[in-house]
Amino acid sequence: MIEAITGIKDSEQEYFINMGPQHPSTHGVLRLVVNLEGEIVKSLVPHCGYIHRGIEKMCEKDTYQQVIHLTDRLDYLSAHINNEAVCLLVENALEVEVSDRIKYIRTIMAELNRIASHQLWWAAFGMDMGALTTFFYGLRDREYILNIFEQTTGGRLLQSYNRPGGLMNDIHPDFVKKIKEFIVHFRKKLPEYDELLTGNVIFHNRTRNIGTLTRENAINYGVTGPSGRASNFACDVRKKYPYSAYDKVDFKEILFTEGDSLARYQVRVAEMWESMKILEQLVDGIPEGPFMMKMKPVIKLPVGEYYQRVEAARGEFGVYVISTGEKNPYRVKFRSPGLANLSTLNHLSPNVKIADLVAIMGSLDLVIPDIDR
């Protein structure tokens, strides 16, 4: 706050307001100290740490199986994808080759998770823009995915379905049927999203040329995921470093060149279509095989450093582990997409209106537990 206050020039009628930690559009406990001149944002200082739980430190005294449950609590909207990163890291370190069935199910689950996350983002972004109906449309369709999760994994938001070396249990007999039903349903409903928000002229005026991030800056700030791809930065880990079953499916990496809030919006809506394409390719051909590979009851990683990256719903999620050969990691570091995306806020926000700040924040899709960890 000190930086914000000292920067204020009283002669220019500047003042500052606290946005958050309790504010409807910070989507959690993010606090922004915003320096304003009338309605115009002059500068901004994000304050993180209101939901810091020390997850990385907690990982150090847990076994690798236990770490999974902590990664759920990072970016809770792509919990399954976070789990997968830890599992892939352990499997690669131990050089365990998992069966195709595990790879397929993991990929299907990850894509379902991505759609669910984008649906919730779409719902909340519309609400940030003042279109309150979007919230219910988004959550209505998300419910289908959560039911599929619940049926197979028992969890709706935090699944903890992955295990090092496989999955917690086999899929529910209705799994394939339900996913097909969902695809049929959502292909009908997704055009409704466009009718309600994408095609709206007020929405276009609110988001076009707002918070434009150039490709250079996207790379410099390490912005990944849909936000990075909106700035024409091809950063999709699924394409660059395919893991699980992503090398077996055909999908497009959505790239936009504008880099503004509208482009970030369009990338995410287009990604929902692409994710459904991936689901369609995989869901019929889930091969037979074990859902859990033979693993030692106590997992000890060989001495060394390991890094595994996956494409979470918000960007590149990385796990860095130093192992000393013990049953628990010596040091864990998570590369969360949210923190990198938040770091651009300072660069994007000067000389925009308060309403634009909300639009930029919404389009960056911040999840605060992911930032604070």
Partner: protein, 374 residues
Amino acid sequence: MNIISQVTDSAPKYIIYDFGILTSRIHEWLSSMMNTTWTSVVEMVLIGVVFLSFYALVGLILVYAERKVCAFIQCRLGPMRVGPWGIFQTIADFIKLLMKELLITRNADKFLFNVAPFIVIIASFLAIGTIPFAKGIQALDFNVGVLYLMSVSSLGVLGILLAGWASNNKYSLIGAMRSGAQIVSYELSVGLALMVVVIFAGSMQFSEIVQSQATGWWIWKGHIPVIIAFVIFMIASTAETNRGPFDLAEAESELTAGFHTEYSGIKFAFFFLAEYMNMFIIASIAATVFFGGWMPLHFGNFAAFNHAMDYIPPFVWFFSKTMFVIFLMMWFKWTFPRLRIDQLLTLEWKYLLPINLVNVVLAAFIVLMGWYLI
């Protein structure tokens, strides 16, 4: 009292239900009991009581209606628990609001803070007086009714500005400043849009404007200029009542709740009620000016149909037209995103106002040439 039997054959069809007879009977009855001064005092008190209860009733109904309409737009049911289909939900809510603690922020300007909700509610209360609900049911019917309505309805912004200023909260202040800029700008468009119909009707008196629509509503008779005026009136009046997509003053995703962030309990309820009453007033003005007020629907030479329509009481016509306009306002509130402050002012000053000025000239020209249905 049998009202219908009072009508003579020579009277025009549309005054089958003339409530003027009822009100003049009451006036005569009161006059026979007391002198002129006391008669007017008693009448004022009576009208005040009737309007106060009407105000509360309409507020309750509109809050319920909005919650139901919004629920159906959003694929849900809305209030369902209190009473059948939740019809007593708003009453329960108001009891809750009455019992809540009235909080005042530290260092707030206590006097202005307390007075602000009353200014807002009085402004909307004053405006009801001019609305003709049916023939003979109108508290204030004088020759500059439109002008009076415009001036009274613009008082509300004073309350909002005071609320924002006195709250000692920066969010509230930003909301109040936005609201001030917004209402001052859109007041022009509302006035000019009404002016178009005033030119057609040749009067500023609401009863005269309704009377002039006996042969057809202005939205049909006045064709192009009145349709343009109606669209502009809907946009501008929505902005004037601070409703979505123009709810910048209370933009909850930006300013938490804008000017009424710091209000609680019944003082918050006053703002809430005033918003809904303003919506009702705007809708009833739109119904009166563009859709013929309490005039029944008539089609050219379909005498039987027209006669059947005449038997539907005028207040049914009035309220159904008003509810239609209110539904329109709710419809776009719940589907559109919010504008930004500069876009809002651009829309008014660069688009609506010039269109409106041209439209007024066009209307005057059409009236001069007599290119409209009489």
